[in-house]
């Protein structure tokens, strides 16, 4: 019982990282139907930004995370402007390949500039482990869970309550109609990229703190996992992405705990396929049938 509880806590903290990343995928997909392959690499950039500002500029944790979010938001907007905007009316597979190209560019550009070495993330916050009812919870885990939940709520508020959020939802449903009612498509899409990338930046700093090591290729696997999370939750759905992230986090730690860590990813993909077969548009996705 205790191990189950323990794994649940570990799963939640890992899951919240996936959830933060999945939000970016889901928002971008929802609005321009693009699998933004470079999203995982933005998370990597966030982690590196955190690494440098803490080491060189001696930022504290909060400042490091906020600046990483800002930096990543900027990078996201720039990438959208140069790489995806020219392809908005091209076949979707073309935009996907461009996104893969951007991903390669970020990974290899960072390897080229800062070497491919793994480096240890500065521990700005001293790890304290609390023992509650026989379970070990570190302050870092609480911090990750807390910040992730706070950011998710904030995002939900932005999307539901602000004018820009309404514009985002409108563009996601019908870009042409949204333009007809005076919504600026480019601004809305840029804003979406900024929001999603900021979430990825925060996730990057948090993961650095949690796993204590970062490298230029660190975004690849979590990126794909987070996308899987977004699909499980129903791509385009904000609560779906959060739920999907937590499901994958808990699934991974759970499978690892029962001694099948070699099959950890296989189980994740298997669950993905099963969920899609039962719910072809994910848990919260809307399954639209073509009208004849």
């Amino acid at each position: 019982m205790q191990t189950i509880g323990q794994q649940f806590i570990n799963g939640l903290s890992l899951g919240s990282i996936y959830a933060l990343l999945a939000l970016g995928y889901t928002m971008v997909y929802g609005i321009i139907k693009l699998i933004n392959f470079a999203h995982g690499d933005i998370y990597m950039l966030g982690a590196f930004w955190g690494y440098y500002v803490i080491n060189q500029l001696h930022f504290n944790f909060i400042l490091a995370m906020l600046s990483a979010m800002l930096f990543c938001a900027l990078v996201g907007v720039v990438i959208e402007y140069f790489a995806y905007r020219p392809l908005r009316h091209s076949p979707r597979i073309t935009a996907l390949i461009t996104a893969i190209g951007v991903s390669f560019l970020l990974e290899n550009g960072m390897s080229y500039l800062f070497t491919a070495n793994t480096r240890s993330f500065p521990q700005v916050i001293k790890t304290v482990t609390y023992h509650v009812a026989g379970l070990r919870i570190s302050n870092i885990q609480l911090l990750i869970l807390g910040s992730a939940c706070f950011l998710m709520l904030l995002l939900e508020l932005i999307i539901k309550r602000t004018k820009m959020g309404k514009a985002m939802r409108a563009v996601a449903v019908d870009p042409t109609a949204a333009q007809l009612v005076g919504i600026n498509l480019n601004h809305t899409i840029s804003f979406t990229f900024a929001l999603g990338s900021a979430m990825a930046g925060a996730a990057g700093v948090l993961i650095g703190l949690y796993y204590n090591s970062i490298d230029p290729l660190m975004g690849m696997t979590p990126g794909i996992k987070a996308f899987v999370a977004a699909v499980i939750g129903g791509i385009g759905s904000i609560p779906g992405a959060s739920l999907g992230g937590f499901i994958i986090g808990i699934l991974e730690t759970g499978v690892q705990a029962i001694g099948l860590s070699a099959y950890k990813d296989a189980v994740v993909y298997f669950v993905l396929i099963v969920i899609l077969l039962v719910m072809p548009a994910g848990i919260f996705g809307k399954h639209t049938k073509e009208k004849v």
Binding site: I35, P91, I93, L96, T98, V102, D265, Y269, L277, P280
Partner: protein, 319 residues
Amino acid sequence: MKARLRANLTWLALMVLGFVVIDSCEFTGLINTFIENMLVTIGINVILATGLNLIIGFSGQFSLGHAGFMAIGAYATGIITQTMATPAGFFISMVVGMLIAIVAALIVGIPTLRLRGDYLAIATMGAAEIIRLLINNLKITNGAAGLFNIPALASWATVYVLMCLTTIVTVNFIHSRSGRAIMAVREDEIAAEAMGINTTRWKLAAFVFGAATAAIGGSLHAAYIQTIAPSDFNIMASIAILIVVVLGGVGSMTGTFVAAVGLGALDTILQNFGTLRMIIYSLALILIMIFKPSGLLGTWELSFRRLNRHHLKEVTNHE
């Protein structure tokens, strides 16, 4: 009838010419191991990418799991030829690889091909990863370390001949009743159903066909490179094949050839750039996509029959 014969003979002549040119270059030493390696990689990429183009470009199903089927072929050859290190053993292993890939494609395809677009892509990607992780954890495949010292049973000539054969077979498949049914599914599933076309069956046919050719590519890879590991067949490997297809033009087999050759040459040239290699490669990829969104050749195909007709028209016009 005559036009068809002439076109087929032109193709045959082109293939023989290609073989003779490479062979004489090998003979005179113009092709060193480095270039031969490049040519073989191009050949294998053509085999893999024509199969994937059949699935994506012609049947319109977005599969992102091609490397999984390639892995099956590679491991079939790697395992079988270690006990049967003869050319016959190699061909047996290739057939076994194809058969297993076909079974795997049926198991993956029957449930997942109901999914649409990106959902199918992510499901097939997951399926390929499951195949890879199984290989990664099995004893017979030697786990994550992979297989070494696989007998060198494929030369550049084997790759060349099989490249020609799979391309002929794939193109023949496309230019037939089956190929048209598959394209109908791509164009409009509901209309295709209403015309009596069993869309599930034809989607599956294309998917299985592509998987079988991917297994051939994998077999050749194992027998030529002689070392394989599960990490050679990860998501990035599937994406590399996808890049060849999209770069050449989704739905153009000629484009697949052009892209495979172009990327192979680019890769070879970029070897001299060391760490900058991948940066230049990714920039090239982004720029080509932005300036040529439908791929290098779009859906254009080289056809000697058409060229002949044009030629004939011009001749008659002049007279």
